[in-house]
């Protein structure tokens, strides 16, 4: 399934190989790290970018989609964007430094420092054969933060992690550990501070401890020509609760992977995604959820609105191991395809080995319902206004699941601005 034979090298592949060769000379890392990276580059040289023959990349064929990779590396800009929420603690995801007062019980350090430690190779080793994002990030990663929230600490203010690129390469990694019983809201913002093309890989490893309660938001705000390859790897402890909210409204070629492993019983995972797609962008959310223990609940709802020539992909795979009895997993992917040139591909997949579980999935694709439109127009609302109202209602349902009023308002505003620009 995941075998790809050697094909002629693409311009993007060559560019990545060249960048690494340059970087290797400049960079002083420990020997084992360099050896690991050399190995990954050698492998990449053999296999190249993932193409449609690889099942998990079937709809996001980087061999054809990734036409160009910029040459330089993005300079450090710090956390300079205005925060989504005014009371947020703002950090740069890249430097791991603090830009405002750090709350008690939360420690932040630099990922680069961690990389120089002895176990660096463990951090970067990828276990999945089709994990291209993990590989490219391991090859280039330079910058990131390590965040630790102590046991039982309840963060009152949301933490905003800005990952800003101003053109060129940017490869960051965050390692976040939420202690047992801790609570907090984190907003990971993927921002462009410039219109220059950027090529970004960003990985977050998030561990949610026993009985911890976390809201994690990934806000995709990259520029119209940017490539973003994101990945979040989640481990859920016993009784942990995580709401992951993905707001894709930016970027040219975007893939956000979500890998979840439930290894403590009674955890509750909710994924809510809104994909606003326009122009000739390509946006992909790919989720894999491994239920390895019993009694876990998960719900995933993805809502997509497709304009212009945009293309969207949702792949969701829920795997329920033999011992994961009483799993309750529900997945839905609803798409409003508003343009005849737009495309949407969904693959909501279930893989079940336990006999006493409830798993369901649903997927719909349609245009705006004529009856709904008629209802509004009959009340004197213009066609375009009525359409806008219906699109807003379609995504608002998901945004409201965020519960926190300030967050709901911030994202409704952000989406509404996007829709005004594109509709």
């Amino acid at each position: 399934m995941n075998v790809q034979s050697k094909k002629p090298i693409t311009a993007a592949e060559q560019s990545l190989l060249d960048r690494y060769a340059e970087r290797r000379k400049e960079r002083q890392g420990n020997a084992s790290l360099t050896a690991l990276r050399d190995g990954l580059v050698h492998e990449f040289d053999q296999t190249g970018l993932p193409g449609r023959r690889i099942e998990t990349w079937h709809y996001t064929d980087l061999r054809t989609l990734l036409k160009f990779v910029p040459e330089g590396f993005s300079p450090e800009t710090g956390a300079s964007a205005k925060p989504l929420l005014s009371d947020a603690i703002v950090l740069s995801a890249r430097v791991g430094g603090q830009d405002s007062a750090m709350p008690e019980g939360m420690a932040v350090s630099s990922f680069n420092e961690l990389l120089t430690s002895a176990n660096a190779t463990d951090l970067l080793e990828s276990k999945r054969p089709d994990d291209f994002i993990g590989r490219v990030n391991s090859i280039f990663v330079d910058g990131g933060s390590v965040i630790d929230v102590s046991k039982g600490v309840k963060l009152e203010k949301p933490v905003e992690l800005q990952n800003a690129a101003s053109g060129g390469h940017l490869h960051t990694r965050m390692s976040v550990n939420i202690g047992d019983g801790a609570e907090g809201t984190f907003i990971e913002r993927q921002i462009a501070t410039d219109t220059a093309d950027s090529f970004v890989s960003s990985i977050t490893d998030l561990t949610v401890g026993k009985s911890a309660v976390v809201t994690w938001i990934i806000s995709q705000e990259r520029g119209d020509t940017d490539t973003h390859l994101g990945q979040i790897n989640i481990r859920l402890g016993e009784d942990a609760r995580l709401m992951l909210f993905i707001a894709n409204a930016g970027g040219h070629l975007v893939r956000q992977e979500v890998h979840v492993t439930a290894d403590g019983e009674n955890s509750d995972f909710a994924l809510r995604g809104v994909n606003l797609l326009g122009g000739d962008s390509h946006t992909d959310i790919t989720m894999e959820y491994d239920h390895l223990v019993a009694n876990c609940v998960s719900t995933e709802t993805i809502r997509n609105v497709v304009f212009d020539r945009a293309r969207g992909v949702f792949q969701g795979q829920i795997r329920v191991a033999q011992i994961a009895q009483k799993t309750d997993a529900k997945m839905a992917c609803n798409t409003l395809l508003l343009s005849d040139e737009g495309e949407f591909f969904s693959k909501p997949e279930l893989e079940i080995f336990a006999d006493d579980v409830q798993c369901g999935h649903g997927a719909t694709v349609a245009d705006i319902d004529e009856n709904h439109l008629f209802y509004l127009k009959a009340r004197g609302i213009s066609d375009s206004k009525a359409r806008a109202m219906l699109v807003n209602a379609f995504i608002s349902e998901i945004v409201e699941d965020l519960e926190n009023e300030d967050l709901v308002e911030a994202f409704e505003q952000r989406f509404s601005e996007w829709l005004t620009r594109h509709a």
Binding site: E55, D340, E343, P348, E351, H361, A363, D367
Partner: protein, 489 residues
């Protein structure tokens, strides 16, 4: 919620160790030498007295096949097949050349009797059978007999083995063969194109409703042989045909390969109903033996308002790899896929459908029910795709799976591809999504909720399966009652 006892009992009745068709017919066979090369293909072609173009067609397929790789994307595992360790042609010695029923070896007739397949027209006419069915009986690599040929011919319907059709209607075969499943379509289809031995040919001319059910019964008997069935059904403008396929094989320790290609062509206003009761030997409870069923089935709704409907009841085979598909090319054409797939023992099923919407106002419906028991794995894999120009394409998909016991797996892999805004696709995999109105209607009349759900969901499948002739559908009938409570998605 786990499966209910009644369902468990019903599935147990068709468990792998309950296989009833495992007997072997001892009959003298003529075989081509083991292995595959151009000479074997020439041998098969010569045996069937084929024209030169057919041989060329086969040879070019074979050369193409040599360059292809075995597909590995399906969720099935099996040891590498040694294609040189298979007999590609095996026919009863007595079968050299077409014969009338009276000349057929009585041992063969007894075999079909044992299987409950009526081959004697008189018996059927005498009312022994409830309904009349024309049967083409294929034994290993050859067609033994085709019944009711004359009567069908009166109506203008051609029903014969594909080998005969190549000789007698070369223009028709040449026009349509490979036009739905191209020679290079996939590994097993290409292999089949090179070495296919027998299968059925059906031609329903313009405006004709085929006066009776047509059916082919495939039997693999000989050891170490592969069966490469090729079936071609053409239904001209406003024609109608219902075709049924059944299959069994003896119980053997080794695995045997059945790599079939079935092509359906429906022209304007035509309708083809294709039903399968697949009951190949599934292997024993330890997974020893059984048929590898690697099949490419595809229907082309070529004309406007045409309709193709696939119904399958899958209980046999060690490994199933099969996706009966509809290409909805004509405007307003319709595709349907109804499937019940039950896996027991160590069976592995990776099956589903493809609905490719190309024309305007095309619609498709997929109802799939998978039940896994024992140590089996049962995967539904289905693709629904709407082309940019397929305005108002509609699809409804419902797939449910049920697990019995804790050592099996049920998997669902839908691929939903929408390329225009007027497409409307709905995919469901839960029982709770049943229409509230229908449920309310049943509850109002005092039917308990569980029964009501089963009634509504099974209603779809039942409608189709009840039309299968009784003698073929024993397993199907048993399965109808299986309810869906405990569905996992």
């Amino acid at each position: 919620m786990p499966a209910v006892q009644e369902t468990i009992d019903q599935v147990r009745q068709i468990d792998v160790d309950q296989y009833k068709y495992g007997f072997e017919t001892l009959i003298e066979m003529e075989k081509a030498p083991k292995g595959l090369n151009e000479d074997i293909i020439r041998f098969i072609s010569a045996k069937k007295d084929e024209p030169e173009w057919m041989l060329e067609w086969r040879l070019s397929a074979y050369r193409r096949w040599l360059t292809m790789e075995v597909p590995s994307w399906a969720r099935v595992e099996y040891p590498e097949i040694d294609f040189d360790d298979i007999y590609y042609y095996a026919a009863p010695k007595s079968m050299s050349g077409p014969k009338t029923l009276d000349e057929v070896d009585p041992e063969l007739l007894r075999t079909y009797e044992k299987l409950g397949i009526p081959l004697r027209e008189q018996e059927m006419l005498a009312g022994v059978q409830q309904s009349r069915i024309a049967v083409d009986a294929v034994f290993d690599s050859v067609s033994v007999v085709t019944t009711f040929k004359e009567e069908l011919a009166k109506a203008g319907v051609i029903f014969m083995s594909i080998s005969e059709a190549i000789r007698e209607h070369p223009d028709l075969v040449r026009k349509y063969l490979g036009s739905v499943v191209p020679v290079s379509d996939n590994y097993y289809a290409t292999l089949n194109s090179a070495v296919f031995t027998d299968g059925s040919f059906v031609f329903v001319p313009k405006g004709v409703r085929c006066p009776m059910e047509l059916s082919t019964y495939f039997r693999i008997n000989e050891k170490n042989t592969g069966q490469f069935e090729r079936t071609l059904i053409i239904c001209e403008e406003a024609g109608y045909v219902s075709y049924l396929e059944g299959c069994t094989a003896p119980q053997r320790d080794e695995n045997q390969l059945h790599a079939a290609v079935v092509e359906l062509v429906a022209l304007e206003d035509a309708e083809i109903k294709y039903s399968t009761v697949q009951n190949w030997f599934p292997g024993d409870s330890e997974g020893k033996g059984g048929i590898y069923n690697f099949v490419t089935k595809r229907g082309d709704c070529r004309g406007a308002n045409s309709k193709i409907s696939w119904t399958q009841v899958e209980t046999g085979s060690a490994i199933t790899w099969k996706y009966p598909s509809c290409i909805l090319r004509g405007d307003n054409s319709r595709g349907e896929f109804y499937s019940i797939a039950v896996s027991n023992g160590r069976q592995q099923i990776d099956s589903g459908t493809k609905m490719i919407h190309l024309g305007k106002n095309t619609s498709s419906r997929i109802i799939s029910k998978g039940i896994s028991a024992g140590k089996s794995n049962n995967t539904y894999r289905g693709q629904v795709s709407a082309h940019r120009k397929a305005t108002n394409a509609r699809n409804f998909t419902q797939c449910d799976s049920l697990l019995i016991g804790n050592n099996c797996g049920a998997h669902t892999v839908p691929y939903i591809e929408a390329r225009n805004s007027t497409a409307q696709f709905e995919h469901e995999a839960t029982t709770s999504k049943i229409s509230e109105d229908q449920l309310f209607y049943c509850l109002q009349r005092g039917i308990p909720e569980e029964e009501a759900i089963a009634l509504i969901v099974n209603g779809f499948v039942k409608e189709v399966i009840q039309e299968l002739p009784m003698e073929f559908a024993v397993e199907a009938q048993k399965l109808i009652g299986i309810s869906l409570e405990g569905s996992v998605g």
